[in-house]
Amino acid sequence: MIEVGLTHFLIVSSALFSFGIYGIITRKNAVMVLMGIELILNAANINFVAFSRYLNLGLSGQVAALFVIILAAAEAAIALAIVLNIYKTFDHVNVDEIEKLKE
Amino acid sequence: MLGFPILTLLTFIPVLGMIVVLLLPNDRAKEIKYTSLLATGLQVVLAIVLMMNYNFNAGGVYDESSFQFIEKFRWIEIPGISWLGTVKIDYFLGVDGLSTPMVLLTAIISFIATLSSWNISNSVKGYFALFLLLDTGMMGVFVALDFFLFYVFWELMLLPMYFLIGIWGGPRKEYAAIKFFIYTLFGSVFMLLVMIGLYFSAQETLVDGSKVFTFNLLALMDQSNYTADGILSPFNPNNIRFIAYIALFAGFAIKIPMFPFHTWLPDAHVEAPTPISVILAGVLLKMGTYGILRISYPIFPEITRDLMWYIALFGMINIIYGALCAMAQKDFKKLIAYSSVSHMGYVLLGMASLSTTGINGAILQMFNHGTITAMLFLIVGVIYDRSHTRGLDDFGGLATQMPVYTGFVTIAFFAAIGLPGLSGWVSEALVFVGAFGVDIIRVLTMISALGILLGAAYMLWTLQRIFLGKLNEKWNQLADLDKREYAMLVPLAVIIIFLGIYPSAMLDIMNTSVNSLVDFLSNGSANFTLSGL
């Protein structure tokens, strides 16, 4: 049986990160983009915890992960509020077409 | 010594006159003219007072204590600017035997030129204001003993001259004025460079013992004042005194004007109104030779000695070349202009001899040429006023129509030819005596003697073409001289005859100074031996 090592965690997190990036780039729906961002954040969290666990850094990684989770929650709340407002204004949440600020 | 600053008065009375002229309303032409006449007249009176109080035994030249009527005080003082040190420039006036004749000449010629300006009719106010400013500039050059002050006066006279030619001149006045201006400015630039070079090469010790850079001409003549590393210091083995000498000489040579820098002269003369031609020939040309004697000679004695042959060579070229060019002219005024070139050659030749007789002759020739040429230009002016032409071939037989005028012409012409008994001869003879005595320039002197012959040839030819022969009937209405013209010509004629018979009147003034200059050049400056090249 194979010992679960740092590499495995990193592979999982990079997969998550890639999915996140993919989501951000390809989706036009603002909610989907937000989900992509959440995926990236969580990929980072896995890295924090993994490095903290394997590289003898004490509890710093875990603390950082906790901060990120809290931040992500706050961010998700604000972002969803914005998306809601956007939907109210434009009747859709397609990021490509929200160009009002550009003008 | 007098109880009042005579040199300052001499120099700035015209400026006072100018202020009065500027305050007068435009249409008061008569008052303006009389104001100028008064100002220049006062100048003549002061010059005579100066002559009467003059000490004939004071040498001057390089020795401050034997200068006369000295006025010296701090003019500009800027304490301690980093690497420049303290800048101090003196207002330093004084005369000696080299400058007194020129002061006198300037006063006389300015007065006579004012008289001759009586016919000026357009923008009288501007004319006389500029004229008086010009007068101040000229006088200042001859009395300044500080290089900076000298340069200020030198430039001061340039601008009025430019306008006087450019506004009141003849048909090609703009060309002539700009040519004069640029040519002279060109020379001034050289002078400026040398002046600054000298400034940073010599230090004067002040009363409190501190050493400062100096523009004082007399301090610059004393080689113990030079710093060890100044670029124009004789102690600096890599100095460029030779180049500086050439540059300075070129600056003065343009004014003389020395071949090949002379071509501004005929144009300026031909286009300038008569009084300005008189000033130009009578005084301005002398500033060049005076500058050489006052500045180039005593500050660069060793190079002067090295180059005396070349100075004599240019003197000879001026004499012969000017005379031959004069012979070919068809315009009366241009002929006189070229004769000036020729006569200034004698001054150069005399100076080149570095001998008492030669330099005395040169200074006397400066004075005599001033009076004689002034008279010649007045003569041209008289005939031009009446006939509005200057072509030599347009006249003929005027001796019958204007006998008195012809009499004055004869005096002036023969003075220019160098007839003994008239002033021109004395100075020419002294120049030759001086130059012939120096073996290295003897051959040049012999060739120069041809100038006597050529001078006679073109002058007599001119006399014949204009005054002799059958009267050209076209001119049978010309009037002889009027009172004003008498007043211009008589004093000059009297001076010419008087100095021809009794030249000592002028020679005694300059002789002591010339002797000390010669002595300085040959002995007193023996330490000036490091040459720039």
């Binding site: - | 071509t263 060019c325 012979m327 007839l419 005595g437 012959l453 020679l507 002789n511 010669v518």
Partner: protein, 694 residues
């Protein structure tokens, strides 16, 4: 008489004419009678000069009186010590004799002119000019130094210029005046350079001091050649003033002036100034200088005589005869016959003045006709003029009992002696040939003018003898052309007082090695207890005396005979002779083409050259100035263009480039976060690939 009185008197005599000149020239217009004042002052001056001469010769015969004053004082000159220029006067026998001659002739000419010039528009001015001339001439005579000699030398030139061009409305007259002045100037340059050599060497102009230093062996620039040069250069002044070849061309032209002027200036006095100058510097002439002087004199007398043979203008003939006689005097000085040269100067002054005034009388009578071919037979109409003219002609031809015989004979003897001592036989040969020609052309002149039949009947009929004031001077002058005034014996000039007592040849001062052999002091320098010029020369002169006299009598007789044969008795047809030697005749008639030569070679050349230089000045020198101005303006134009197109262009170009780049990259800026993110991701990937940390 005290010495100081002599000097006061001579100064008075000198300045009297100047004073009257000034008064007349300034007030002549207002007071038309002022010419009388001028004439009066000359007569007074003459009286004083006679007094001066008598007292000098009776009381101070062998003394030289001099007086000088400082003119210019240079003080203590570096290297030279105390230097001053002095002017002064000197009285010796030569001076007082010259004073007398000048004043006498001047006075007679004044008197003659009273009538001759009557009615002239500028009558007063004419007399003023004569006064000026007299003053300047007296200055030359009285001076004791070279500088003053030069001063008055030039003043004489001026008065000559004024008087030749007196009728200035005539082109030929003003031309002649100008020519005289300029040609004289050529000589004067030489004279002046000579003076400069002397002054540079001795720091003084005074004759006495210069001679003293030369006598002590001080040479100019330590070389005998320079002394010779100084002598020759000073002599050049004489070449100009005394109309010696090649500068003689001005004198014949000078005949454009009024005839009395020709008599005074261009025959008797001014032209003799050159000779006088050479007598003054005689003692410092080296052998080489003397030889050149002799050759110039001989050649001049020959050239002028050949030209005089064929001239038809009465004054031209006299003018060339003057040149020829001046050549005689110069030659005489050159061969060392000092006393005879001065003697001839005096006698020539009288008879030549007489001839000129006589010709003036003829011209006056003939109403300004000067061509002798239109005269003839005037003997009957003008008996006194004829008689005086004849006497003077006899004198100039060297016929016994005249003064000219004495002086010419002396000169010819001098040349013979010189020839025998040095072997230069050509000089006496020239002398005798010229004597022959002189006798011939002078008698030709007399015969054609006064003898024969009148050629121009109308003018002849109107001719009449001149009034007293014109005839009187003629009589006085012709009387002075007789021998009796100079010596009791008509064949021996040195038997009289003039040569043996009054004028003595001075001892030369030049160093021995620069003298002629016969002048070396090794030969005893004393004869009859008196120091003379040179013993062997005096000896030779004595030996030459009778041969010279015989020869000169023969040639003079031959010349006169030939003239009578050709013109009086018409035995020989002059035209036929002229035709036979046509080229020679033309050569003489055209004055050896010297004027033409000068015109082509000197005047034309100078004018061309001056024209070229004026062109050069105007086009090249001024051209350089103007071209440099044009170049400067062109350069400024170019800089302007550079500024507009290059500097400014660069600025614009860089703006354009950045604009272009901006435009081309604008597309990438979509404003979409996703696009940017793609760039970021790919950039990171690319960076990873490049850096390749693995």
């Amino acid at each position: 008489m005290q010495e100081i009185t002599f000097l006061q008197l001579s100064i008075t005599v000198l300045f009297l004419p100047l004073l009257s000149f000034l008064i007349v020239i300034l007030y002549g217009k207002k007071f038309p009678k002022l010419y009388l004042l001028e004439t009066g002052s000359i007569i007074l001056g003459f009286a004083l000069s006679v007094l001066l001469m008598i007292f000098k010769i009776s009381q101070q015969l062998n003394n030289t009186l001099s007086f000088n004053m400082t003119w210019i004082d240079f003080g203590n000159v570096p290297m030279l010590g105390h230097l001053k220029i002095e002017l002064g006067i000197m009285l010796d026998n030569v001076t007082v004799l010259m004073l007398f001659v000048v004043y006498l002739i001047s006075m007679l000419v004044h008197i003659f002119s009273l009538e001759y010039m009557r009615g002239d528009r500028l009558y007063n001015r004419y007399f003023a000019y004569l006064g000026l001339f007299t003053f300047s001439m007296l200055g030359i005579v009285l001076t004791d130094n070279l500088l003053m000699m030069y001063i008055f030398w030039e003043l004489v030139g001026l008065s000559s210029y004024l008087l030749i061009g007196f009728w200035y409305e005539k082109k030929s007259a003003s031309d002649a005046g100008k020519k005289a002045f300029i040609v004289n100037r050529v000589g004067d340059i030489g004279f002046f350079l000579g003076i400069l050599i002397i002054f540079s060497a001795y720091n003084t102009f005074s004759f006495a001091k210069v001679f003293e230093q030369i006598g002590m062996g001080v040479l100019p620039f330590d070389s005998g050649a320079w002394l010779t040069a100084a002598g020759i250069l000073i002599f050049m002044g004489a070449v100009g003033k005394s109309a010696q070849f090649p500068l003689h061309v001005w004198l014949p032209d000078a005949m454009e002036g009024p005839t009395p002027v020709s008599a005074l200036i261009h025959a008797a006095t001014m032209v003799a100034a050159g000779v006088y100058l050479v007598t003054r510097v005689f003692v410092m002439l080296t052998a080489d200088a003397m030889l050149i002087i002799a050759v110039v004199g001989a050649f001049t007398s020959f050239v002028a005589a050949t030209i005089a043979l064929t001239q038809n203008d009465i004054k031209k003939v006299l003018a060339y005869s003057t040149v020829s006689q001046l050549g005689y005097m110069i030659m005489s000085l050159g061969v060392g016959a000092y006393a005879f040269a001065f003697f001839h100067l005096v006698t020539h002054a009288f008879f030549k003045a007489c001839l000129f005034l006589g010709s003036g009388s003829v011209i006056h009578a003939m109403h300004h006709e000067q061509d002798i071919r239109n005269m003839g037979g005037l003997r009957k109409k003008l008996p006194i003029t004829y008689l005086t003219f004849l006497i003077s002609t006899l004198a100039i031809s060297g016929v016994p009992l005249t003064s000219g015989f004495l002086s010419k004979d002396g000169i010819l003897a001098g040349t013979l002696a010189f020839g025998s001592l040095t072997g230069h036989w050509l000089i006496p040969a020239f002398g005798f040939i010229v004597a022959l020609m002189t006798a011939f052309y002078m008698f030709r002149l007399v015969i054609v003018t006064f003898h024969g039949v009148p050629k121009n009947k109308e003018k002849f009929d109107h001719a009449h003898e001149s009034p007293f004031v014109m005839v009187m001077p003629l009589v006085v002058l012709s009387a002075l052309s007789l021998f009796i005034w100079y010596t009791p014996l008509p064949h021996a000039p040195d038997a009289g007082w003039f040569i043996s007592d009054w004028v003595k040849t001075p001892q030369t001062v030049v160093p021995e090695n620069l003298r002629f052999d016969f002048m070396k002091s090794s030969a005893p320098g004393e004869i009859n207890g008196e120091v003379v010029h040179s013993a062997s020369y005096t000896e030779a002169l004595h030996h030459a005396h009778y041969p010279a006299m015989a020869l000169s009598l023969i040639v003079a007789g031959l010349g006169i005979l030939l003239a009578f044969l050709m013109y009086q008795w018409k035995k020989i047809d002059p035209d036929l002779v002229a035709g036979k030697v046509k080229p020679l005749y033309d050569f003489s008639l055209n004055k050896w083409y010297i004027d033409e030569f000068y015109d082509a070679a000197v005047i034309k050349f100078t004018l061309k050259f001056s024209g070229f230089l004026a062109w050069f000045d105007n086009t090249i020198i001024d051209g350089i100035v103007n071209v440099s101005a044009v170049i400067t303006r062109l350069a400024s134009k170019i800089v302007d263009l550079f500024d507009i197109y290059i500097v400014d262009g660069f600025v614009n170009f860089s703006a354009f480039i950045s604009g272009f780049i901006g435009l081309s990259f604008r597309r990438m800026q979509t404003g979409k976060v996703q696009t940017y993110l793609v760039f970021v991701v790919f950039s990171i990937l690319i960076l990873l690939i490049i850096i390749n940390p693995f």
